[in-house]
Symmetry: C2
Subunit: 340 residues, 2 copies
Amino acid sequence: MATLMQDAIFSIDSMQLSSGATLPNCKLAVRTHGKLNADKSNAILFPGFLGGAPEALEIWIGEGRPLDPEKYFIILPGQFGIPPSSSPSNTDAPYNGSCFPQARISDDVIIQERMLREMFGITELQLVLGWSVGALQTYEWATRFPAMVRRMASIAGAPRPSAWTRLWLRSVIEEPLTSDPHWAGGNYTDPGALQVGKRRVGHLAALTLPPKVFYRLELWRNLGFSSVDDFVARFWEAFWLPHDANDLVLQARKAQLADPSGGGDLAVTLAGIRARAMVAALTGDAMFPPEEGEADCAAMPNAIFRHIESNSGHLGTFSLSDADREGIDRVIAEILAEDV
Amino acid sequence: MATLMQDAIFSIDSMQLSSGATLPNCKLAVRTHGKLNADKSNAILFPGFLGGAPEALEIWIGEGRPLDPEKYFIILPGQFGIPPSSSPSNTDAPYNGSCFPQARISDDVIIQERMLREMFGITELQLVLGWSVGALQTYEWATRFPAMVRRMASIAGAPRPSAWTRLWLRSVIEEPLTSDPHWAGGNYTDPGALQVGKRRVGHLAALTLPPKVFYRLELWRNLGFSSVDDFVARFWEAFWLPHDANDLVLQARKAQLADPSGGGDLAVTLAGIRARAMVAALTGDAMFPPEEGEADCAAMPNAIFRHIESNSGHLGTFSLSDADREGIDRVIAEILAEDV
């Protein structure tokens, strides 16, 4: 049976961001799969990762799978920094490019909640799940809107970035772009001119995200690449080149600033999360190692931890192998089956 | 008792490099500890790592330790790319800066051998040891001058860089420098102007070299730093800033090209190594993982493998903790005690 997929843009005249700045003509992209039922009790929210437009998550949705659009209304919301949601690259002057105000993960979550309420009348989510920057949004959701979130799943993620991950965001994403000779303080006029910087982001992501076993066993061969250089160019450069540099820098800074405690005591915040929670981590994930996920889980009153065996590390979320897909599907099914 | 330390420069009128290029007025720095005995049977050669001048290895030399200058004549040779040895930054036009010919690890070893013979009359080495780029030189030594090398130790190293390590050399060392706005094809005239690129090398080395446990347990505190940012600035930026960018790029390319088989079959080369060999690897060394060191060892006819437990990974070679120092001293003592 064909399932229903719809795209929409949620627009508001202006939004006051957490920083106090006003963002006029504010837009949030949203893609949905499935149908919202009559009592609006089958909604799942699945926010995206850094560089990941909503449609990048569709590989996890399908009939007979845990995220089944025949059963659930699955909402893939956008985030600031990824067009067509409001971003440096698509905002009119004076807030264009380098002058786009610094949004936070909390701003993403605030506009997502308003979109759910005003577009769909949704006030309850069976599950909020996400990985990486999507997990940052998931923790923010469970903290900021506890009455709405029945279950949450942080997969390959954390409530806020570790010191290592902040260094990653700065040195792998931001600095290759902001040190590109064409950066010009973010006021470049030819977005194609920042190719050098964006390719370098790709090289560094290729260096730091796959676990060493991925290279030792030459698992890039399974993905159809003929050499490491080919994998670096056609997977990693290809992933980053289409993005605008200011958009990427905004996303990287947003992630660095993520903190569901709002500058308070994170342990207290985690202890206060009411949702039934799943924390799942992938073997060899350099960015969110299983040991750290286990500690996050232990800090929450109602959480379970699952270790997903993988040779892909953080990249397991790209469904690179049957094991990755089955391991992640399994934890999604498990949290959805939990009584709350 | 005070031990003898001496510095010298070995100079030759010109040298034909492996590439065929001629390097005029060729210089190799050398520092020695201890005294060469009458029959010249107590020499140990200890080549350096990327960015490491000979004196950086002195923390491993001391009375009562395995590298005991009361017993051995310990030679710390320079390498091309690290002044005062011939380098882009100290060579006269036309071979200055970006026009310095591409040297190889084999060229370092060839001039080191000539220095040992012509300066000291040494034709036998009890041990050649090194880590990282020093290990690349060690394998080259055992392959190129088998009659001279009685024992070798590769610690946190390999015969040639893996695909991941080549990507590291390119994206962590070369590209931050060659994409610096002041790079100018390597023809910059103010060497201080490349600060941005050199600091970025520091950030990326900080990101990729310490194992995750180092950050999770905040082991930088043991080294006297107050925060990750402080560690990144005062340890990592401080390490790279004094270097010349062309010198670093030369070293990085030299390492990428390292191959003791000279483009042949590495397995055959390793199977032909006659020296008694120690291959030692540190827990969590992302650059030279223990599994890879074990495979290198298995390919040699006369080698033993030792795993050194460490929380410092590749940085164990900086002697960051008692465990690192003792673990590395132990494998040096063990290979020196082997009958050959």
